[in-house]
Symmetry: C2
Subunit: 212 residues, 2 copies
């Protein structure tokens, strides 16, 4: 194996951003329930993060809330969505329309986060030429011809583990700047591409460890 | 809202354990490829974690590898599986046999981690009474009667966000000690229960933040 530059590891800022994402989901939830004002103590109770950590996390991005009053839920919600870059629409390409991919596209998570799946690719002849939620499924073999790279902001990659690296490499060459994939497999991120991974086996390992 | 004790936040040890889980997946992968010996530099190249961090992480749990030689892949694999508590079988109950739950049960992730789904519960009459991969699907309404609590080590909860808290509470009362759920929603963990969450909206928020 040849030596290559290591990718940066998940750093402190990423942990803060992940927590801010959980504050945003809590604000969404409270807003839907009609709550107008909340305190950092409410974050502590709901998300299990201490009040002081909530305040420190928020202070990274500006001054929020009113001393002695708390946070205006809808205002803070919009401010944090802006911090996370979720206040404008992003176009998503979904790679893999099989089991997990099709669950994803029917989920509320994308729409709630202003993410719009605009293209789908799959290698299964049973899917190619069809459509999901009105979005046509293209042949993965024609990715280079069919991907609307100028329009795509990020990719959701729901393919089998052995295929992930190849898919990420092709997306990188086409100029796609970000991807999230779900396989239990490390990939090398192409230069100028942000690649994140959600791996259920990692959480399962943490769970069995904590259970002893 | 009443005040309650905050749950502990994800701490340093959990981060180490998550990284150790990724080392394990890399070892699995190298073992499958027939690699016998590896170095911490290989971890750096594959998982993007610096060699020194790999060494520090492993040093938390013992002395591994041979100076000047490296790590024996299959030996380190078994040692880390032991550290994570994955060297013995765990019985899993799956709550929710719909879209995501059914994808999960067909995935390799459980078996690779020595986790065996032994019971399934669902509230959908279309699933109740049927079976998935030979495992009967029970009625969620009969959880208290049908759950084989003595035998269950942990739960995988794949139900809609508004239902997660109720399901976790019921599992906690039945003595289930651990659960992993996937909704974009915080839950209060019952005492003596470890509850982990994988929330795709959190990763999507990190991705859009990093893309700017």
């Amino acid at each position: 194996m040849t030596r290559s530059k290591p990718r940066p590891r998940v750093d402190r800022k990423n942990l803060i951003i992940r927590r801010v994402s959980t504050y945003l989901r809590t604000l969404d939830h409270l807003q839907a329930k009609g709550v107008g004002i909340m305190s950092s103590r409410d974050f502590e109770k709901i998300e299990g993060v201490t009040q002081s950590l909530v305040r420190r996390d928020l202070a990274e991005f500006g001054t929020f809330g009113v001393r002695g009053v708390g946070y205006h839920v809808s205002e803070l919600r919009d401010q944090l969505a802006h911090v996370l870059g979720l206040d404008r629409r992003r176009n998503v390409v979904l790679i893999g329309a099989g089991g997990f991919g099709s669950v994803l596209i029917h989920s509320e998570s994308f729409k709630k986060r202003n993410l719009e799946v605009v293209q789908i690719f799959d290698q299964d002849p049973a899917h190619i030429g069809g459509s999901i939620e009105g979005i046509p499924v293209h042949d993965m073999a024609a990715l280079e011809q069919e991907l609307d790279a100028d329009r795509i902001d990020m990719a959701i990659v729901a393919v089998a583990p052995p295929e992930v690296q190849g898919v990420i490499d092709r997306l990188g060459r086409l100029g796609v700047r970000g991807a999230l994939y779900f396989a239990s497999r490390a990939v090398r991120a192409p230069e100028n591409m942000v690649v994140l991974n959600m791996d259920i086996t990692v959480e399962l390992g943490l769970l069995t460890y904590l259970l002893g």
